[in-house]
């Protein structure tokens, strides 16, 4: 049999992990990336990567609880088998990264040091200073370079993925790519294509993501028929530093290491932070969430910071919304060894030393839980069938998706330090699945040269037409700015149906305006103008999926928060009344689960250029969904009622809250 070839789109953690594993399995890889792979967005990840470990096990932690934390944090919106598999693989993945030479921080005895991240009570997070993503990416980049030297991997850096190539039977047979320097358009034949193109942050204008995170590759798959799932679930990170070109992340590890969030009790207190006495500081997260304190899950921290500034008017500054993130009470030396990298970034870009003066931060768009729909094959005990060709495969045969651009692992909300894990996991896990796909698919023979030629020509014509476009005077950069502002207003922390409806209308107008954009550069050499305009045009299908998904989903779940459909806590004086309200609360919760615990599936109709929604059930057979009660008034009574209901159903008493008791529930049911 001829050597099989796979094209991998994207060289972040996911793409590199897939490429090196495929190479190890003897498959040739063409690795395509907008940027040199070593400069991929994954370098930005600061905080770390999660796994159960020998320090957490003695405290009662195990893979099941990591799994439970992940689905609970994700508000149960993810299929459970892939998440379970990932949690069980996590320790092995960290072992592998350790073997590859990642400079993880160490304990005095020489083991990997760990820190605590949001949404868990255990110190699961391995880290390399405050540049964990960089170190992980480099380790994989080095392995890929090794296989490049060996001749199994060929890199196409500074190339743009324009579209997958589907044959008459709808199978993916390769893709069309474009050289960003020479502008050459080239069809690549392949036995399979894996998309690992990361998140779509640029749709929001400024975010914590990098400039290559424009969502174009995912959108181009979506536009040829791949389903896009749960698009409305966009994580807004609670702590970012506002800048004119980018909103720079301040990692959760700042809170993990003891950072405290507060605002002055007096609105816009003009004294320097250090002169405001303890009693006049409002540590609102610690106050409202005594158990998790500053480390509540992201969606909650974000909403609280947002509300404290907008609703409660307690923003530190008046012209710019922000709260303090305070590290000044922590020892300098510890800050330097554990958080050096991120503190330097703050210092460098703000000109202030965060070891001396509390940082000023505000939420920013950070991560997309939604993404390309992918399949998986489940085992009887609820894990994944290793090397099943269904794993990570989209609904287009031969087209796979991994990393942040798939929708599989994080449900309604991603826990900190779980994304690097899902990226590496899906990248390693997809490789044998792709190999099985070669063996199981129907023999298709050579990719017809006519098909390649035809697809190449189609994209060449589109490109030429764009360059020649003289009509209209719209400026792609200004249209993009408007799109970003609109999306940030309508589809981030707080969502409202009227806003969403009007945003959908405006997005249509912006799309039509983008169609009329004229280029300021009509040349055919390193033309960044035309590349940007193409990516802008491709933002609209995803923007519509996000907005329509959000409009349709009349509930609150994870990062998707619509106050009109919130389930407020319960306040009553008498215990009987409390019970009654808690019963009603739980009834409503169960009703809502029945109605809304389902994945949003968006499909694109290329003739009308409209997005159609449908829904798919979620596999929650391993851990029954339960209410997320973080900080809710009356949480104790609700929890009590909920436990009783569960117990009467399972014929067994089991816990809620931290999830530690859930294992028994499942074992018993």
């Amino acid at each position: 049999m001829a050597q099989q070839k796979v094209v991998v789109i994207g060289g972040g953690l996911a793409g590199l992990a897939a490429a090196m594993k495929l190479a190890e399995l003897g498959v040739a890889v063409d690795l395509v990336s907008l940027t040199p792979v070593k400069r991929s967005h994954s370098v930005c990840a600061q905080g770390g990567i999660n796994s159960v470990n020998d320090q957490t096990r003695p405290l009662g932690d195990d893979e099941w609880i990591h799994f439970d934390d992940t689905v609970y944090g994700g508000d149960f919106l993810q299929h459970q088998p892939p998440v379970k598999e990932m949690a069980y693989w996590a320790p092995k993945i960290i072992d592998l990264m350790d073997r590859l030479g990642v400079t993880f921080n160490r304990t005095p005895e020489g083991f990997l040091d760990r820190r605590r991240f949001g949404g868990t009570l255990f110190k699961r997070t391995a880290f390399a200073g405050a540049t964990t993503g960089q170190q992980l990416l480099y380790a994989l980049d080095e392995q890929v370079r090794r296989y490049e030297v060996a001749g199994l991997i060929k890199k196409y850096e500074y190339w743009d993925f324009l579209a997958p190539i589907l044959d008459a039977g709808g199978q993916c047979r390769g893709c069309v790519i474009q050289d960003l320097v020479s502008m050459e358009i080239r069809p690549l034949a392949a036995d399979a294509v894996i998309v690992a193109s990361g998140g779509p942050g640029l749709i929001y204008g400024r975010s914590t993501m990098s400039m290559a995170c424009n969502g174009s590759a995912a959108s181009r798959c979506f536009q040829v028929g791949v389903k896009y799932a749960n698009g409305e679930f966009i994580q807004v990170h609670p702590t970012a530093v506002p800048g004119s070109d980018k909103l720079r992340l301040m990692s959760e590890s700042a809170r993990g290491e003891g950072g405290r969030v507060w605002v002055p009790r007096t609105p816009q207190d003009s004294r320097p932070a250090a002169q405001i006495p303890e009693s006049e500081r409002y540590y609102f997260l610690e106050d409202r969430y005594p158990e998790y304190g500053n480390l509540v899950p992201r969606d909650i921290a974000t909403r609280e910071i947002f509300n404290v500034c907008t609703k409660e008017g307690l923003s530190v500054e008046s012209e710019r919304l922000c709260v303090y993130l305070d590290l000044t009470h922590l020892p300098r030396e510890m800050l330097d060894t554990k958080l050096g990298g991120i503190l330097e970034i703050y210092e460098k870009f703000q000109g202030v030393d965060p070891r001396e003066v509390p940082m000023k931060i505000f939420p920013a768009v950070h991560y997309s839980m939604g993404g390309l729909w992918v399949d998986y094959e489940r085992t009887a005990d609820g894990g994944l069938t290793a090397a099943s060709p269904r794993n990570q495969q989209t609904n287009v045969p031969g087209l796979f998706a991994i990393g942040e651009c798939d929708y599989q692992y994080h449900g309604g909300n991603r826990l900190g330090a779980n994304s690097l894990l899902s990226c590496i996991f899906s990248g390693l896990y997809v490789a044998p699945s792709v190999v099985s796909y070669f063996q199981t698919r129907e023999a298709t023979g050579e990719v017809p040269p006519a098909l390649l030629e035809q697809e190449g020509r189609r994209h060449q014509e589109r490109h030429d037409a764009l360059l020649k476009r003289r009509s209209g005077k719209e400026n792609p950069y200004l249209v993009h700015q408007e799109l970003g502002n609109l999306m940030t207003r309508a589809a981030t922390v707080v969502r409202d149906n009227d806003d969403l409806r009007s945003a959908i209308e405006t997005v249509h107008q912006l799309r039509d305006r983008a169609d009329r954009c004229a280029l300021s550069d009509t040349g055919n050499w390193t033309n960044q103008n035309v590349v940007f305009t193409k990516s802008l045009i491709d933002m609209f299908p995803l923007a519509l999926s996000i907005l329509q998904g959000a409009l349709a989903r009349d509930e609150c779940r994870g990062a998707h928060y619509k106050p009109a459909f919130a389930m407020p806590g319960i306040e009553a004086d008498s215990p009987e009344e409390k019970r009654r309200l808690a019963e009603a609360w739980c009834d409503r919760f169960e009703e809502n689960t029945k109605k809304w615990l389902k994945s949003t599936i968006a499909e694109y109709d290329s003739s009308s250029r409209e997005v159609r929604l449908s829904y798919e059930p979620v596999d929650t057979t391993l851990i029954p969904p339960r209410p997320r009660l973080y900080g809710l008034v009356g949480a104790e009574v609700i929890e009590e009622v909920w436990k009783e209901r569960l117990a009467s159903r399972a014929g067994d008493v089991s816990g809620n809250g931290s999830g530690a008791g859930t294992k028994e529930t499942v074992a018993a049911s």
């Binding site: 400069r39 390399a128 090794r146 004119s244 070109d245």
Partner: protein, 281 residues
């Protein structure tokens, strides 16, 4: 606090050294961008891209440049700003105006072939990482348990080297690193051209970044097993002996990587290696 001149200027004057394509003549073009607080060179270039018109009102093509992370960790956006090679994303306009209130001057890196305007071809930099085998040659990616234990001190020593983002500042500043610009011949396939490039790069100075990476992997307990191969590469033509110890590299490295320490270590290792080889003959 960032010291802001009391009266912030209304405009920032920016002079850019442009070049349409490789081998073409370069030329200066002047732009005027409305001042905003907290600007960096990237946001200046973004404003120029959105409205590419020179200070004297001519419509021109937008300036091409490279960037990705915008937080000085990807290494993409290196250029020569006000005469100093650095990352343009962390080059804050207020600071630059303190250096020179009249204008900001942007030039492409000087040691790498210009592709267009501020975009250069840095593939030679990555080729050097191949030459010194900057990786841990593990047996497989199967589950073999954890890696070797390491003391926190060893980690602290290696960690700075592992932060090298391949930006190339050190190379641009190094007097021993000379620009190599090859042109693909008409009779050459892409593969043949790539091979000729690689061979030429390999004969010339690897550069301080690659020396530091060789040291990083020689410090790694598993990487150590192949230490000789890396030292061999550093002893070959274009190796550590080319370094004239000018120390320019270390002073421009945005990540403050101890390049001269690495170079000294590599030099010692190379000497020991040569003596050993001499005895082994």
């Amino acid at each position: 606090m960032i010291s802001r001149s009391k009266t912030s200027p209304e405009h920032v004057e920016v002079r850019v050294l442009r070049q349409a394509a490789p081998q073409q003549r370069s030329y200066w073009e002047r732009f005027r961008v409305a001042y905003e607080p907290d600007m960096n060179v990237i946001s200046v270039l973004q404003r120029i891209a959105a409205r590419p018109r020179t200070a004297d009102g001519q419509d021109v093509t937008p300036v091409a440049w490279d960037c990705n992370c915008l937080e000085e960790v990807c290494g993409a956006c290196t250029m020569v700003v006000n005469g100093r090679v650095r990352q343009s994303c962390s080059a804050l306009v207020d600071r630059l105006l303190e250096e020179n209130p009249a204008e900001i001057e942007l030039r492409p890196m000087t040691k790498f072939p210009v592709l267009r305007d501020l975009m250069v071809d840095r593939s030679r930099l990555f080729r050097a990482l191949e030459k010194v085998k900057a990786w841990v040659p593990v047996d497989s990616y199967h589950d073999m348990g954890a890696g070797p234990r390491q003391s926190p001190e060893a980690q602290q020593e290696s960690y700075p080297y592992s932060q090298c983002m391949s930006c190339g500042c050190c190379l641009d500043a190094c007097p021993q690193y000379r620009k190599i610009e090859l042109i693909q011949r008409d009779d050459e396939t892409d593969e043949q051209f790539a091979a000729r490039q690689a061979a030429t790069y390999d004969r010339n100075f690897v550069g301080p970044h690659a020396i530091a990476q060789a040291i990083l992997f020689n410090q790694n307990p598993t990487g150590q097993m192949n230490a000789d191969e890396r030292v061999e590469a550093l002893t070959a033509p274009g190796g550590v002996q080319v370094c004239g110890n000018a120390q320019n590299c270390v002073s421009v490295c945005p990540k403050e990587i101890p390049l001269t320490t690495a170079i000294a270590q590599a030099g010692r290792a190379a000497t020991v290696h040569s003596i050993k080889r001499w005895f082994d003959r």
